[in-house]
């Protein structure tokens, strides 16, 4: 708690936390704030520029863009959490055996090298295609493709800590290896993991909205930000606001996360300061 307080004392971290809180409020209550439905079409009102009646204008089906972006916030926030959860879970399953027990260490690291050698978002694209379209597809696909990142991180943490005298003492005291790994070593790596998880959340939001932009994952009429950007490409000339606001929403969210992540890193992980 004390540490959290210290972190929030930094103005940049506070700004990040406030930004994220706003996005969270939008995600939870955005649809209630607005008199419009995110789905109901009204072709008389299509492609209107921003005005007092429609803050962000309307889209090609006459839907209020602000309402759609507010509702879409929940997809992007979920994308951050779900994919980091999947990545962390996979990372623990591979990283702990490899770093602490040294079981199949070489094989696991080779597997990570192979996965990391896949160029860009192609692996996530292939996984999305196998899973079929759906809201959660890109989140899980991005999570799976980030497993090696977490696995390496967790392995490195365990490798460093397993040699410390307190682990020796635990062994002498008769603690079971699983207990030593999960109760005694894992909490010591938590800082590094937390920092990386926060920063990966920003990457995950960008990547999963990019997948939706490419037509995988969320499908129209879901107000997912990446899918909305894709739809905007047809209206560059008539309605540029369609391309501006969804992207701005992604960027603001990622800025909030990165501000928080950088502050966490400076606080918890002074060696990685950059």
């Amino acid at each position: 708690m004390n540490r959290l307080h210290l972190i929030l004392k930094r103005p940049s971290a506070l700004a990040g936390a406030i930004l994220l809180l706003c996005i969270l409020l939008l995600a939870v209550g955005g649809a209630l704030l607005s008199p419009y439905s995110p789905y109901a079409q009204n072709l008389d009102n299509k492609l209107l520029p921003p005005s007092t009646a429609h803050f962000f204008g309307t889209d090609d089906f006459g839907r209020d863009l602000f309402t759609r972006i507010a509702v879409g916030a929940r997809y992007s926030l979920s994308a951050g959490f779900v994919s980091v959860f999947v990545g962390l879970l996979g990372g623990l399953l591979l990283g702990v055996p490899s770093g602490y027990f040294r079981h199949a260490d070489k094989a696991i690291m080779f597997f990570c090298d192979v996965i990391l050698a896949f160029p860009g978002i192609l692996l996530a694209m292939a996984i999305s295609m196998i899973m079929g379209s759906g809201i959660y597809t890109p989140m899980i696909a991005v999570g799976i493709s980030s497993v090696p990142v977490f696995a390496r991180l967790i392995r490195a943490g365990f490798l460093a800590i397993r040699e410390l005298p307190f682990v020796e003492a635990m062994k002498a005291a008769g603690a079971s290896p699983i207990r030593i790994a999960l109760v005694h070593i894992l909490p010591n790596c938590l800082g590094t993991i937390l920092v990386q998880a926060t920063l990966r959340m920003g990457v995950a939001i960008i990547t999963s909205s990019t997948l939706s932009f490419l037509g995988l994952g969320a499908q129209p009429p879901e107000p997912e930000w990446g899918a909305m950007l894709n739809a905007a490409r047809a209206y560059f000339w008539q309605a540029p606001h369609l391309a501006v606001f969804p992207g701005l929403a992604i960027t603001v969210t990622v800025i909030g996360i990165n501000l928080l992540g950088d502050a966490l890193r400076d606080q918890l992980d002074p060696l990685m300061r950059g």
Partner: protein
């Protein structure tokens, strides 16, 4: 040195074989029948069967895999289902476009990133430092898809200065180059600043100053040389990331490169083209990493590999 190189090369070959295996089985797990996609919507069942036989898609997966790897080891990437031309020919037609765009973007990134990192480090703690680092922070937070769309909106739609499709002149490279390059520039700027700050605080730089070397000489001759080591490493790593980033940028700018070819082939289930494209990108990525490793040892005499 030679031993290290051999070991590294062997591992790289293993990773590439792993990528080939993974992409083969991932693609086979995709829903949708490539034979049907190829034969077209009006095809009869026997047409589809014929296509399946012609591309040997009727054979068991294990046999297909053995054929694929066997051919691969002889340098044969197979034939495209769709165009019926050798995958190698198709790749060679697009590969230069991807490479040119990557190198152009990297040039943009280095020209923006390195000077602004040095600039910020030299004015450490001032508002100019804060300003350039805010810029870099924005650069790493902005999705490249959106950055590309904003650039198109501003420079093509509004100002009508630059084209956003085609690749006939240097002007065509500017927007996709900036889309790919600005994020990388931000990463380079952040790292350049940190490593310059570290070096500028070291004793030997103080000595150089004490001997009366000019500020320019101190920064560019004495400090930059040592700060360059991590910078070169990140440039190598980011060049790999740039190749991966092509997938999105090429789609956005209709760039006839390898990334877009893979995306198109993925949706038409042209397995051989996807496998070949991924493999070529992975090999390039691995070679860049290897070169970065070697360059690192060359630049820093303290690093002795072997």
């Amino acid at each position: 040195m030679l031993r290290y190189l051999m070991k590294k090369l062997l591992l790289t070959a293993g990773v590439i074989l792993g990528v080939a295996t993974c992409s083969f089985f991932l693609l086979r797990a995709l829903p949708g029948d490539p034979a049907q996609a190829l034969a077209g919507p009006q095809a009869t069942l026997s047409d589809i069967e014929n296509v399946r036989k012609a591309f040997r898609l009727d054979e068991p997966i294990s046999r297909q895999f053995a054929t694929y790897i066997g051919n691969l080891l002889r340098g044969d990437l197979g034939y495209s289902f769709r165009t019926r031309r050798p995958v190698m020919t198709e790749i060679l037609a697009r590969w230069p476009n991807t490479l040119r765009l990557s190198l152009f973007s990297m040039l943009v990134a280095i020209l923006i990133g390195v000077p602004s990192g040095i600039f910020a480090a030299g004015r450490h703690g001032t508002s100019l430092d804060a300003l350039s680092m805010t810029g870099a922070f924005l650069g790493v937070s902005i999705p490249s898809v959106w950055l590309g769309m904003l650039l198109i909106l501003l420079f093509s739609v509004k100002l009508k200065w630059l084209p956003f499709y085609g690749m006939d002149s240097l002007a065509n490279y500017v927007l996709p180059g900036l889309t790919l390059g600005l994020g990388v520039a931000a990463n380079i700027a952040r790292l350049t600043r940190v490593s310059m700050l570290e070096v500028l605080g070291s004793d030997y730089v103080k000595t150089a100053r004490g001997k009366g070397a000019s500020e320019t000489r101190t920064v560019y001759i004495h400090a930059l040389r040592n700060a360059a080591i991590p910078i070169v490493t990140i440039i190598g790593l980011q060049l790999g990331a740039l190749l991966g980033g092509q997938v999105v940028t090429e789609t956005l700018f209709s760039w006839p490169g390898l990334g877009r070819m893979i995306v198109d082939s993925l949706s038409s289930r042209d397995y051989m083209m996807v496998q070949g494209g991924i493999l070529v990108l992975a090999v390039t990525f691995a070679l860049i990493n290897l070169l970065t490793d070697l360059l690192y040892a060359l630049l820093d005499p303290r690093v002795r590999i072997g």
